[in-house]
Amino acid sequence: MARMKFLCDSERCIECNGCVTACKNEHEVPWGINRRRVVTLNDGKPGERSLSVACMHCSDAPCMAVCPVDCFYQTADGVVLHNKDLCIGCGYCFYACPFGAPQYPSSANFGGRGKMDKCTFCNGGPEADHSEAELQKYGRNRLAEGKLPLCAEMCSTKALLAGDADQVSAIYRERVMARGFGSGAPGWATAYGKKG
């Protein structure tokens, strides 16, 4: 059993936004919604870092904890998905998510947001795999085809890694050893009490 995770190597990300474009194209995500986005810290200053951010498919996901209608579920491979038939568009998950992953497609009358939309780790939804309903509601199901999320597979510098957490961390560890210095990830020094 795998535990699917994303990891963005900030030493490699060049803020090309290829991952954002690939995601929108693959899932035919409507105008105004970005399931993935590239965040740049210290823009234009020394120490600038870019990170590609989407749903991190948390092991103990706060969106799942706060959802009043329990529309979230976690697959056996650790992918956090939701059921749009159950979602009431309340926005609690948006407030709870530290990454700003949940998106809302419309601003209707009386403040209606529509059903929540977010990164599915290219794993579709509860509908039958590769069905028209799944495509319409959640986008493509690449995992069922034996393919990893397109954002990671498209990444030209291989900054964005996706897959089983054991494999992703092994690849990242190799890189850090080869570089001869720390990860360069923002917050590393704070988390581990020492500099890079």
């Binding site: 329990d70 579920y73 056996a76 159950l86 590769h130 034996g146 393919k147 291989k158 996706a162």
Partner: protein, 90 residues
């Protein structure tokens, strides 16, 4: 039965018939903390093995796109590939 009752019954039936077909299957009973929606299809062990092979390709940035050439897809035994757009390489 009075005319008022018949009118009310007809109105109620009319309202029910007017419900959105997509919303009739909604879960109306909530058991807090339990997902009550449709069950998802789990990945097979064969698919997981293919995904592990695929993840290993991320180790080698330069070779990745060659490894994913449409003419030479990675082994995808027991994985059915459906629903792709014509001419889509990835």
């Amino acid at each position: 039965m009075s005319a008022i009752r018949i009118t009310c019954l007809a109105a109620a039936l009319g309202l029910l018939a007017g419900c959105n077909a997509d919303e009739r299957a909604h879960v109306v009973k909530l058991d807090k903390g339990t997902y009550a929606g449709a069950a998802d299809t789990q990945l097979s062990d064969a698919t997981r093995a293919v995904l592990r092979e695929r993840a290993q390709l991320q180790r080698f940035g330069a070779d990745l796109h060659q490894a994913l050439r449409p003419s030479e897809p990675p082994p995808a035994t027991a994985v059915t590939v459906d629903g792709r757009m014509a001419g889509q390489n990835y």
